[in-house]
């Protein structure tokens, strides 16, 4: 398959190891990955903060960049984020329609129909749960709210994790509870966000896991920031970063896979 990667703005700027892992993983599985360089952001932050007019140019850029998938130039678009996939699927059309851009709204729908969150792409589209990974660590999984409730990815990420050689998956108490990130919520309601984070961090530490994983670097940045502040030693890693790890090229938790300049 020819798969276009939407890296997401936050991972592009802050956590490039996740989209890099997606590239390596999909290539390992025999697929071709394309990265359309005109991409920037899906517009979720603007939409969820209520700045719908300012979201329009951002959304248009996304739709224009990924429009070729609707013409069959690529087979699918993969996004290593549940919330960005959710925004692409459930918000972009609304933003464009409100701006009176009906034709682009239709294009957005066509792109969204071929856009998948990573675990959806692997399990539903590519039909794999065992991606040949090796990761000999104790891991707990936080199902991020948008993956869980907006997309309904269900247990796909856990199925992928269970198939990883050497990985011990430990259940997270109150896993489905929100971590308190909520995008700009973490700033506008910083105290409430911190209270929610505190509880999530407590549950993560309670698992005794070495690694916390999720399908979204935004939530991971939040929980990871709390884990780090608390000096817990638990490492946040994106699902892709675990799935890319093999015996030949193991990924070590906490070791940033920096690329030399």
């Amino acid at each position: 398959m020819r798969i276009a990667l939407a890296a997401t703005c936050i991972a592009d700027a802050m956590f490039p190891q996740a989209p890099r892992a997606v590239v390596t993983l999909l290539e390992r599985l025999g697929h071709e990955v394309v990265f359309p360089p005109a991409q920037a952001c899906c517009g979720q932050m603007h939409v969820n903060t209520g700045y719908l007019a300012d979201a329009v140019p951002v959304v248009r850029n996304h739709v224009r960049t990924f429009a070729p998938v609707a013409d069959g130039e690529w087979d699918a678009v993969v996004v290593p984020s549940g919330s960005c996939t959710g925004s692409i699927r459930h918000q972009q059309r609304m933003v464009l329609e409100r701006a009176g851009l009906d034709q682009e709204a239709r294009a957005a729908t066509a792109v969204a129909e071929r856009t998948y969150e990573l675990s959806e792409l692997l399990v539903d589209v590519l039909g794999v749960t065992d991606v040949g990974a090796w990761f000999p660590h104790r891991v707990t999984y936080h199902p991020t709210c948008h993956s869980l409730r907006m997309l309904g990815v269900g247990d796909k990420p856990e199925r992928l994790l269970r198939a990883v050689d050497g990985l011990e998956l430990v259940p997270l108490e109150q896993a489905e509870g929100c971590c308190g990130f909520g995008g700009t919520f973490s700033l506008k309601n910083a105290d409430t966000s911190a209270a929610m984070l505190q509880d999530k961090v407590g549950h993560v530490v309670g698992t005794g896991a070495e690694v916390l994983t999720a399908g979204d670097w935004s939530c991971l940045m939040h929980i990871g920031g709390g884990l780090s502040r608390g000096g817990t030693g638990v490492r946040p890693m994106h699902l892709a970063e675990i799935l890319v790890s093999t015996r030949e090229a193991p990924v070590v938790p906490g070791e940033r896979q920096e690329v030399a300049r």
Partner: protein, 510 residues
Amino acid sequence: MSTFLGMPAARGGSAPDAAAPDTLAGVGRPDDPLHWGASFPDAARTALANQQLRRNLGNATSTIRAKRARVVGEVPDWEELRDAGSALKADVLARLPELLEQLERNVTARGGVVHWARDAAEANRIVADLVRAKGTDEVVKVKSMATQEIGLNEALAEDGIAAVETDLAELIVQLADDMPSHILVPAIHRNRTEIRDIFLERMGDAPPDLTDVPRELAMAARAHLRRKFLSAKVAISGANFAVADTGTLAVVESEGNGRMCLTLPETLITVMGIEKLVPTFDDLEVFLQLLPRSSTGERMNPYTSMWTGVTPGDGPQEFHLVLLDNGRTTVLADEAGRSALHCIRCSACLNVCPVYERVGGHAYGSVYPGPIGAILTPQLTGEKSDLPYASTLCGACYEVCPVKIDIPSILVELRAREVELGGAAPDTSDRVWQAAMKAASFAMADGDRFRRAARVPRVLRAISRHGVIRRLPFPGSLWTRSRDLPEPPRQTFHDWWERRARQARQEDER
């Protein structure tokens, strides 16, 4: 409609006797029940600092959450029921004027009197006049959100009429001069010890040796209320449902106190929001399955009282129905937000809300707290509000709502409205957000511009230690006050990809 007697005092916390008398007084009764108190972030901060409150709320909401999940899980056609409930409500809203007139005709034909109230003041005036005409200065009340919303008790008090709340939790709130903090369990923020102290200090006829054992508390309230039921000439209620094609009203409650009010007095006055209609009697079937399981986690509701006009020789011989608008037609006119009027006030969304669970109801500064309050309150008042932002958009509310109100999407719509209102008369914070969002929009609408912007966080590497940044100046401090920020990478993904592509090209050339 619930019998909630407070959580036990926190273990390891204060001793049962330590509830200081000055904490008994509630937040007081505000002028506007839909808008009072500090801003949401500030009120939340105060609430979060109250460890006892957090524990009470955490325990109470997790108990009811589990109970609800269990009984909802038993119903094989739950999703179909939700669809039916949602479709029925959508139909009601689409035909509201016609159905309301049908209801009026049927209530009138069966001996009731229908009154129309545009707003809170009008509704309060109608009720006060009706009560005065009966020559009484004390009425008993069934728990009702509509009368909380319009501040009926305070309005009656100004006319020298004492309204006695008969729902146990509502009575606790009233005695403490407090506001409800939950739409179903209004005293959820109180623990048993506080309730005992409130009874002892303020009920007037509580046994002096009262303890905080739930049964004893209930018995004390029972004796107190029984005297009121037997003497009251007028009762005031809300309504859970009104059936347009029969003129039947329904109240759903757990204690039986509501039924006392609905049957014993000579006159019954019901104040009902105009959206509480269902078209036909059969439609109640859907809602009487959805409501108890969603609200109290019960399979069947204990006391479901229904009445149609006046029945000679049985129950109240005079019945008045006050149909309340108070902002509802404005909500109805808004296509994006109108489904907020589907709400059947089950409170499931409050119980699952991670924000509500931590900050409680008072932080919302409205009689409608939690997720439904965050979408309903600003729509009813039409004022600028910070409530649409009091959510992480986690979607737990939408998942449980028995009438499928897409609360997260409405929150986003209302945020857009806030941005418009803020654009018209911006304060400092509006200006900062506007500027930030404009700049981000510019940077994120183009691949090249974004590629350059994505390199900017790298400057923070200068202040990072051991791979993390612990402290940033404002507004970054809002983040770093309670979380670290990881060190930004040396190379963005855009740059990595380009370099990789270049290397591949070079290899090809070789």
